[in-house]
């Protein structure tokens, strides 16, 4: 799993590559928590290169959304792979992360 970040004013894009499951979810969660502490308004997630997302990964995304709301910030998905998209759609959390294309 690889993560890279790019700042753009009060926005930040976090690109995650690889699988999003129990082996990587907690590293990603900690990273998102750290980034939400920074002086940004919106955290964009680039999930275009996510091969698989498990229930633990989905749980981490829901927690990140809740964490952002608590800080009056937003976590949005800028792009997403077909597989991950299907999964989030099935769980019904895709609208929580829907925003403008990045």
């Amino acid at each position: 799993m690889k993560m890279s970040e790019k700042f753009n004013g009060d926005e930040l894009i976090l690109k995650i590559e690889g699988v999003f499951d129990e082996s990587t979810a907690f590293t990603i969660r900690d990273k998102m928590n750290d980034l939400l502490e920074k002086n940004i308004q919106t955290l964009y997630l680039d999930l275009d290169h996510i091969g698989y997302i498990s229930s633990i990964g989905i749980g981490v995304l829901i927690t990140a959304h809740k964490n952002a709301v608590k800080k009056n910030k937003r976590v949005l998905i800028s792009s997403i792979s077909e597989k991950a998209n299907e999964m989030l759609k099935a769980v019904g959390i895709l609208p929580l992360f829907a925003g403008k294309d990045k």
Binding site: S55, G59, K70, K71
Partner: protein, 314 residues
Amino acid sequence: MKINRYEIYTKRAVLVSLFCNVVLVSIKLAALILVNSLAIAVDLGISFVGLTISVILFYSIKMAGRPADPLHNYGYGKIEHVCEILEGIVLIGIAIAMISQASLHLLHPRVISNPWIGLGTCIITSSINFGGAFYIFKMANKSKSPAIHAEAIHYRMEGYISGMIGMSFIIAILLNKNGLIHISPYVDPGSALLVSFYVIVPSFKLAKSSFFNLLDASVEEDSQIEILKKLSHHITKYCEFKDLKTRSAGIKKFVEFSLIVPHDISLEKAYKISNALENDIKKGIPNCSVTIKMIPCDGDCEYVKPETGPCPYK
């Protein structure tokens, strides 16, 4: 005592399994006497284990359905996993014993007496196994019982085993017809060896997964997803959820988590939120027990500041 439909499915599966195993053991025992084949002896051993497990399963399923009592507060569901482990370990034991036996027979080969009877037996028994497996899988899917699912896997595996032994009889008959009588005595122990190796891997996997289930493994991925679906369905009603824990005991599943709600909403409102969530999860996951601990928010959020606006969860 109220019997739910899931218990009816498991009981049906166990009765079919019990009946088929009695028939299988009788047929294979008769065939062993007539054919004198080591491969059929392995097959008979496996069916005998199957029969023993079916009897244990019959009582286990009855026990698993018993309600929780003061000594077993979470019920008796884990007995199903004990059954699975037992099945796995005994099958591994039989396979190891047969590997050593087959190796000896390869060194000192014996001619099998009536290969046509052996072939006929294998066709009949593998048909019973596949038919039984089809029905038991159906009941396993309906009941969500891990022990019944393990039984269905066992049945299907036995079907393949009988099929493989049947093939070895065909090979032996063909070799005999083509004048290769000196090779055909090796086919039977060779087939027994193959079957034994074939049994070891799934049996080990079965025993391993049941062992971890006994160690309170989380519920399977589908149920985890179902829980998240329900949590996301009610997402606008609570601040956060945390400490989500799940475990299964046979067909029963246990889910618990903490739900953080605004500190100044009424107890009645908070109860309504958690009750709706609990009922929704129970609808999505049959035989599920849900425990939700409600925690008032600690106010460590932006909405305590007047300029941020009202709390979205009130």
